[in-house]
C-alpha cells in the first residue's frame, strides 16, 4: 500500500513537496523534531521520578562503613549485602509486619470497595428516596472532621479497638471522596435504560447491581481499589495511634518508627550520655534503605496490573457534580 503513493510522490517531487510532507503526517504522533524533544523531556522527567528510588536501592547495597565515611554516593566505595543480611536476621519481625500489612491491605481493600460501591450505587439511583440526605451525610465529613482526640476516644473507649487489627482497617474503610467519585461514575456509565431493561427481565436490585452495574463499572472500581490498596499499604498513622503490640505493627509503621526514633534521639542532647545503648537497637542507614526497598517493591509492582483501568477510571469518574 505504501509503495504506490511513495513512487508517485517521488516522480512529482518538486511540485508536490508540501503534499509529501502532509502524507507523512500522523495525527497521533509528533513530527521528528518535536518527537525527539518530547522524548528527551519526558524521558528525563521520568528518570527524575525513578532516580530517588534507584538511589535508595544503591544505598541499601553500600557498605555501612563507606556510608559513614564518605556519605551517600551514586557509585559506592564498597558494595555489600550486609543490610539485607541484617534484615534476614530480624526476619521474624519483618515477616510478621509484612503479614499484617498484607492482611490489612487485602481485607481492607475488599471491605472498603464493597462498602463504597454499595453506598455510592444507592445514592446514584434516582428512585432512592433519601439519596440527597445520604449524599449530604457523606459529603459533610469531607468538610468537617471530629479531630484527632475525639477520633481516638471513639476508637479506644467506645469501640474498644485499641491494639486490634481492625483499628488499622475500619478507620479507612469509608472514604467520602471515593463515594462521590463512584456515584458520579455510576450515573455516567450505567444508563438508566439498561437498568430498566434488566428490571423488565425480572432482575431484582441485587442481581442488577452484581450482574449489570458492577461489570460496567470495572474501571471505576479498579481505580478506587488501587487508591485504597495504596492507602492501606502506606498507612502508618493509625498504627501509631492505636497499636502498642509489636506483633500487630505493619511494615510502614515499623519504618516510620525507626525514622522517628532516629530524629528524636538526634535532637535530644539530654540523651547523649545514653546514646550508645539506645542507638544500638536502631538499624543503620543501609539497613533502613533496604527496608524501604522491601516495603515499596511489592506495591510498585502491583501498579501495572491496575494501570489499564486506571486512566479510564480517573477521567470518567473525576467530574464531580
Amino acid at each position: 500500500m505504501d509503495t504506490l503513493p511513495k513512487s508517485a510522490a517521488s516522480t512529482k517531487r518538486k511540485r508536490f513537496l508540501p503534499l509529501r510532507k502532509k502524507k507523512k503526517f500522523n495525527p497521533y504522533g509528533f513530527s521528528g523534531k518535536t518527537s525527539v524533544v518530547m522524548h528527551i523531556l519526558l524521558g528525563s522527567f521520568a528518570f527524575l521520578c525513578v532516580f530517588p528510588f534507584i538511589y535508595v536501592i544503591i544505598i541499601s547495597l553500600s557498605s555501612e562503613q563507606s556510608l559513614s565515611l564518605h556519605g551517600y554516593r551514586i557509585i559506592p566505595e564498597e558494595w555489600s549485602l550486609e543490610a539485607y543480611m541484617y534484615l534476614w536476621q530480624v526476619r521474624s519481625q519483618i515477616f510478621r509486619a509484612y503479614g499484617v500489612t498484607l492482611f490489612v491491605t487485602i481485607v481492607g481493600t475488599i471491605l472498603s470497595v464493597s462498602v463504597i460501591a454499595l453506598y455510592a450505587y444507592a445514592i446514584s439511583r434516582k428512585q432512592f428516596l433519601y439519596r440527597k440526605q445520604f449524599t449530604f451525610i457523606a459529603f459533610f465529613t469531607m468538610l468537617f472532621s471530629g479531630g484527632m482526640v475525639p477520633f481516638y476516644i471513639v476508637m479506644t473507649q467506645f469501640l474498644g479497638l485499641k491494639n486490634s487489627i481492625w483499628a488499622l482497617i475500619l478507620p479507612m474503610t469509608v472514604n467520602a471522596f471515593y463515594i462521590i467519585i463512584m456515584r458520579t461514575f455510576f450515573q455516567r456509565s450505567v444508563p438508566e435504560a439498561v437498568l430498566e431493561s434488566a428490571r423488565i427481565d425480572g432482575a431484582g436490585e441485587f442481581r442488577i447491581f452484581l450482574k449489570i452495574v458492577l461489570p460496567l463499572s470495572i474501571p471505576g472500581i479498579a481505580t478506587i481499589a488501587l487508591f485504597n490498596t495504596l492507602a492501606y499499604w502506606n498507612d502508618w498513622f493509625n498504627a501509631l495511634l492505636f497499636i502498642d503490640n509489636p506483633s500487630l505493627v505493619p511494615l510502614q509503621s515499623l519504618l516510620m518508627r525507626i525514622e522517628n526514633n532516629l530524629d528524636f534521639i538526634r535532637q535530644n542532647a539530654m540523651l547523649s550520655s545514653q546514646n550508645g545503648s539506645i542507638l544500638a537497637s536502631i538499624p543503620q542507614d543501609s539497613a533502613r534503605m533496604a527496608m524501604v526497598v522491601i516495603a515499596t517493591l511489592p506495591i510498585a509492582l502491583s501498579y501495572p496490573f491496575f494501570q489499564k483501568y486506571f486512566v479510564r477510571g480517573l477521567t470518567i469518574g473525576s467530574v464531580k457534580e
Binding site: 562503613q65 476516644i153 501509631l240 530524629d263 528524636f264 539530654m270 550520655s273 550508645g276 545503648s277 537497637s281
Partner: protein
Amino acid sequence: MKKTILLLAMLLGMVGLLIACGGEEAGEGKSETTENEGGTGDTGEVGEKLDPVTLTWYLIGTPQQDLELVMEEVNKYTEEKINATIDLRLLDWGEFDERMQVITTSGENYDIAFTSSWANNYALNARRGAFAELNELMDQYGKEMKELIDPAFLEGAQIDGKLYAVPTNKEVGQQAVLSFNHELVEKHDLDISTVNSLTDLEPLLAVIKEKETDVTPIATFDAYLPFDSILQEEMPFAFRLDGNTDEVVNKYEEEVTMETLKVMHDYYKKGYIRPDAATSTDSWPLETPNWFVRKELYQPYAESVWSRSAGYEIVTRPLHEPYVFNNSVTGSMQAISTTSQNPERAMMFLNLLNTDPYLRNLIDKGIEGVHYEENADGSITDLPVRVERYNMPSFAIGNQLILKLYEDDPADKWEAFEEFNEKSIPSPALGFYFDSNPVRTEIAAISNVTSEFSPALLKGAVDPEEFIPEFNKKLYEAGMQDVLDEIQRQYDEWKENQ
C-alpha cells in the same frame, strides 16, 4: 486531591487537639482534685487488705520481644508484695510524646507514665492537671524511696511546692564535656589537659586539620553557652549562671555569647567544621572514627560507656562544673495519672521499684540465666540475647544507683554518681517553672525566629557580628520584651515565696 483532604483532616485534627488542650485545663484540673481527695480517703482501709489490681504503666523505649517473659516474673513478685500486676507498655522513642498527648487529652485511664523535660513534658502536664500531686502519697507510701532519692531531685522537681512525679535517682547535675578521639590524641602527641574551653581547642584543631585529611576536626555541635535556659536550650530566655543571676536575659544579647560564637565561626571559616553543619542532620555515629572532638553531656564514667560502644578509647575534658538545672532534675521521672483508679498502689509500686534491687534489676536487665549471668564478684555479664530481645532504657525506669554493675564497670561507679551529685551546683533558677500560657503567641513567634537563626549561629556557620543583631531585632519584633517581662514577674513572685 486525596492528599489535600488528608492534610485538611489532619489540620482540623490539630486544631481540635489545641482546642481540647486549652479547654480542658480548667475543667480537668477541678475534677481531678476531687477524685484525688476521694482516693486519699480510701487509702486507710486499703492498707489492710489489698485488692488485686492491674497498673498500666507507659514507658518510653523500643518495644522488646522478651517483655512479656520478663513481666511474668515481675508480676509474680509484685503480686506477692503489693498484690498488683503491672501492664507495662513501651512506646517507641519517636512517638512517645505524641501518643501520651492523645492519651492524656482523651482522658484515658492509666496509672503511671514516664515524663521528663524532653518527652511528655513534665511541667506542662503537671500544670495542665494530667498528673496527680504526690507529696502526701509519697509521705504515706513512699518513705523508703524518699530517703534513697537525692534531695536535690525532690526539691528541684517541685512546681509551686508540689511534686507531680517521682524523679529517677541518677546524676543530678548537667555537665557539658568535650570528648576526644584518643587515638588521634596519641598519634599526634597532643596535650588535652590544658583544654578547658572552646578557645583552647585551636592549636589541636589546627594540627588535626593539617595532618588528618579524612577527619573532620569538630563533630558538629552547638557551642556551649553558660546560661540556665528557660524552655528549650536554644531559646533566648535564660538566667546567667554568675553575676546578676536574678535577672532574666536574652542570652543572644550577652557579651559571652558573641565571643563564643565568634570563635565558633572562626573555626568554621578555617574548615574545622563541615561546610553544611547548619543544615546537616548526620548523627556522627561513635563507631566511625572520622571526628576529633565532640560535645556531650557527662555522667560519671561516661567515657568508658562511650569507649565501649565506639570500639576505641574516648577521653573527656569538662567545659564547666556540673550544674543542677530544671532540665536535669526532671530528666527522667514517673508520674501518676489523675485518671488512675489506684494512685496509692501505683505509689507503692514506684516505691518498690526504686528501693528493691531485685525488682529494679529484673525490669532493667531481664531474667538471670536467660538475659544475663552473674559473676562470682556480684557483677554481671550480658548474654547476647539481652541486647537482641531485652534492651531496656535503663535511665528511664527508676533508681539507677541500685543496679547491678557490669564486669567492666568500675566498682565505685555509683559512689562516683553520689560524689558527682554532691559537687553539682544548683542553678539560680532551679525549681522555677515558667508558666508560658500568658505569652503563648509571643513564644510561638519567638520559637520560629529562633529556629531560623540559632542552628546556623550556634554551629558556627554564619558570622555572629552580622547575624546576631539581625536575630535580636527579629526577636524583639516577635514580642521578646513582653516575654522577658512576664518571666521576670513570675520569677520575682516565685523568689519571694522561697
